[in-house]
């Protein structure tokens, strides 16, 4: 196999759905322009939704409420277990309940700036507008947000902003919002409006006459592979952080749905924009199967530090105040410990690279609550962060009320994803992508508490208003049947690949390949990237892929519950996606947000953007496994938030 480092540049790609005019009016205008489907006709339309997280759960429930027939899938045993459930900190909304100068425009501004000017203004503004409705919707569902003694909602601050706009439910905000969406979905399942397929995994997209018309999916209990048909397909299958093997994603979160849609024609945008979260629990050894996040909200009250001296291995309480370096407070005095995630992560890497890291292997920094406990009292700290402290203690056997936490950055979120227009439609007509699965709103770096906001905005409000337009303009009166050649082809390819995986009978387990790929990606396409490193990765990945197909060992058969087969089949996609991520990172010879190229930094080591060359979203077109993809650029125009070097000093 050969590696690719060259690529062709094709026609530019542009969003043609966002209307002209003032950014604040575009969403209203678009909703008015969008064609509607008569309520009586909606039940004749079937919409497939893949995934039941915040975006998929809310989309499925809302589309069903509107009268569409929804067929929904998740690989988990219940829609309630989608990985949105693990989001801890909170959800942003421009309610300005604190009267602290917040507004829709400020949330819009913060998000575009936080994303390092690599997001589309019209989408981000819409997100900020909708944020206020999301809180209303969730409260109406009975989501138990934290409240003040007067009975009104409490908020807190998150990284990258100077207002308090984050609504939360202790450290379990994602859980509570997801259960709200799950309960709304459950109501629609009971009403017969949603046909739910748990433990069923999408393995291919069916495209007929250029339009998305269904999916191929495998029942994970029986192994049965079936085809499902629809008038539109919505992917809400989350991000691809598990390419790195170790991440804060759930073990089974995977890229298969979006990658196979990419293979069928959907452009994949900005794959190198991955977020490394600064506050995760450091790994303890080679057995590590995943990493656990500690909510960013901890940075509200915890202070991050390392010893001033290299190799200072005294226990933390033996290091006097004067010999500690509170490096975020020192370098970024106005944002302090609340700088955006990409900046906090890189700063942690830098101090560890200098040899000032703490804990085993020097891969950690302290997150210290001693001052907060002295100021607020232990009880107040416990009320605010109790469950996070408990979780930390359970994993590390250290008591964070007494000893500072040790944290280290870990892969957490992927800003890249399927390219979508303002309507959230991909380049395959009839195929939509919502939530983390798309690339739209966070640019090169997502701000804390914005993933929940985007997932629910897409699912509750955006998609249900835009999908009408597609369905009204494309009434599919032609029935698709299983004997259609496009269906047969997709089915055969899926079956062939599973059979091939089972037949190799080599000498390496799926996990061993996943781990090898992950280590390579973390080293060469992680927190800091270089041209030589990326070229090395692009050389190495095809070799791993070749070895995979020679040496993989998958026990059992395809006609049974077979978790090894599921894993191996997902790794096939990681081995292709990883290559695209490295190529994208190589081609983007600038630093921006989570993408840091060592060749492109300011004299004081901050990310240096190169707007003249790279002020675009890179949308890649698939041309074959191991073949160079074609780059389509979407030029980004900034009319309202003018690109500047981000400053949090």
């Amino acid at each position: 196999m050969t590696s690719y480092t060259e690529y062709a540049t094709g026609e530019p790609v542009a969003d043609r759905k966002a209307p002209e005019g003032p950014v604040a009016d575009r969403w209203d205008t678009r909703r008015f322009q969008a064609k509607l489907v008569n309520p009586a006709n909606r039940r004749k339309h079937t919409v497939i939704v893949v995934g039941t997280g915040l975006a998929g759960g809310s989309a499925g429930a809302t589309l069903a409420e509107q009268g569409y027939h929804v067929v929904q899938f998740c690989y988990q045993d219940s829609p309630r277990r989608a990985h949105s459930i693990a989001a801890q900190g909170g959800i942003n909304a421009a309610k300005n309940y604190r009267n602290d100068g917040d507004s829709v425009h400020r949330l819009f501004y913060d998000t575009v700036k936080g994303g390092d000017f690599r997001a589309r203004e019209s989408n981000v503004h819409r997100l900020a507008q909708i944020s206020v409705e999301i809180i209303d919707q969730c409260v109406a569902q009975g989501v138990p947000f934290a409240r003040e003694y007067g009975g009104l909602l409490d908020t807190r601050s998150f990284g990258g902003v100077q207002v308090s706009r984050t609504f939360y439910a202790r450290g379990q905000t994602g859980q509570q919002l997801l259960l709200g969406a799950y309960q709304a979905l459950s109501r629609q399942i009971a009403a017969g409006n949603v046909e739910m397929h748990p433990r069923t995994e999408m393995l291919d997209l069916i495209v007929v006459a250029g339009r998305a018309r269904g999916i191929v999916a495998r029942d994970l209990v029986t192994g049965r592979i079936d085809t499902y048909f629809a008038d539109a397909v919505v992917l809400a299958s989350g991000g691809y952080g598990n390419v790195f093997y170790l991440s804060t994603n759930a073990m089974n979160s995977n890229a298969t749905a979006i990658w196979r849609a990419h293979r069928r024609g959907a452009y994949f945008a900005n794959p190198c924009f991955t977020q490394i979260h600064p506050t995760c629990i450091p790994r303890t050894g080679d057995h590590q199967s995943k990493l656990t996040l500690m909510s960013e909200s901890l940075r509200n009250d915890g202070r991050i530090w390392v010893p001033k001296e290299k190799g200072d291995d005294r226990p933390p309480h033996k290091i006097p105040e004067a010999e500690r370096d509170y490096y975020l407070e020192r370098i970024y005095p106005s944002f302090g410990n609340l700088v955006p995630r990409d900046i906090a992560s890189r700063a942690a890497k830098n101090v560890c690279d200098e040899g000032r890291g703490v804990g085993p292997g020097g891969q950690g920094v302290y997150l210290d609550f001693a001052d907060a406990i002295a100021r607020m009292g232990r009880k107040a700290v416990e009320d605010k962060y109790g469950n996070l402290f408990d979780m930390y203690e359970r994993i590390t056997a250290e008591n964070p009320y007494e000893v500072p936490m040790r944290i280290y950055p870990a892969v957490h979120y992927t800003m890249g994803g399927l390219w979508v227009d303002y309507d959230l439609q991909t380049t395959v007509p009839g195929l939509f992508a919502v939530g983390e699965a798309n690339f739209s709103d966070h640019g090169a770096n997502r701000l804390g508490a914005s993933a929940l906001m985007q997932g629910l905005a897409d699912g509750y409000f955006v998609l249900p208003s835009t999908i009408n337009d597609y369905l009204a303009r494309n009434p599919h009166h032609d029935e698709i049947t299983a004997d259609h050649p496009a269906v047969q082809e997709a089915l055969a390819e899926t079956e062939d690949q599973l059979n091939l995986l089972l037949s190799v009978d080599g000498d390496r387990t799926p996990d061993s390949f996943h781990r090898e790929l992950g280590e390579l990606m973390w080293e060469l396409c992680g927190m800091a990237r270089t041209e030589s490193g990326l070229r090395k990765a692009l050389d190495r990945i095809p070799q791993i892929r070749e070895e995979f197909w020679r040496r993989i060992k998958v026990p059992g058969t395809g006609e049974e519950f077979n978790q090894s087969l599921e894993k191996a089949n997902r790794i096939v996609d990681y081995l292709e996606l990883a290559e695209l991520m490295c190529l994208d990172a190589l081609h983007r010879a600038e630093s921006c947000g989570g993408h840091f190229r060592e060749e492109s930094q300011t004299p004081d080591g901050e990310a240096e953007r190169r707007d003249e060359e790279f002020s675009y979203a890179a949308a890649w077109e698939f041309t074959g496994t191991g073949a160079a993809p074609v780059l389509h650029k979407e030029d980004l125009v900034f009319e309202y938030v003018h690109p500047t070097q981000r400053s949090y000093a």
Binding site: T62, E65, D77, S78, P79, R80, R81, H83, I85, A86, K95, E133, I135, D136, Q137, V139, A140, G142, P144, A146, R147, E148, G151, L152, L153, A169, Q172, Q175, Q176, L179, Y182, Q183, A184, S186, R187, A190, P198, V221, A250, M251, N252, S253, G285, H287, S289, K290, T292, L293, M391, R394, I395, A397, F461, D507, T509, K553, P555, E560, F561, Q563
Partner: protein
Amino acid sequence: MKLTLRVWRQRDADADGGMSTYDVDGISPDMSFLEMLDTLNEELILKGDDPVAFDHDCREGICGACSLVINGEAHGPERTTSCQLHMRSFRDGDTIDVEPWRAAAFPVVRDLVVDRSAFDRIIQSGGYVTAPTGAAPEAHATPVPKPDADFAFEHAECIGCGACVAACPNGSAMLFTSAKVNHLNVLPQGAPERETRVLDMVATMDDEGFGGCTLAGECATACPKGIPLFSITKMNREYVRAARKGRR
């Protein structure tokens, strides 16, 4: 650490199952219980055996997927989920029994994996507030007293893992059901459906084959999220109140 595992193996729902014994070596006390099972599975695959199937996903104690009975206790000796149990809770040389949830309403799918869809059907029968998207009033229109909000939150913490059912001598789902009933019934948003919710959810729970409650209290002891036992008595009061009102 070196351990002996006795693990329940069962090919599918219809097959007979039994305990199989495996030795594992080189286990670190910092490993989670599931990472220890990963180690076993890697060895089994290379030996050409079928790895042990078990449900797991987030591995941080919140998704509710993991579901192991360890040495006869749901989620093992610590009050946490199986994924957050670490090997430091065991001693070198221990023999550990690993079994699936045992309950009539949770049939075994394979090995340690069970079918908990009955829980979904309980929620579908009333564990929600009817609030279609778009119809919501301004969030601050209805203040909720902090004690009520905190009470709702405590019950909303349930992760739906099913440890309560697995621990109960009767295989009852009262703690699971009451957690959702109490979460929603205490809130003003949940008030309009207060009676139908509890009546319908309890009826579904019975129909799904869960056992009756004798207040043994094992459920609350096993619950990794600390849903309190009084949740059940509170739901019983809700039930009686609703039945008296005669609303359906």
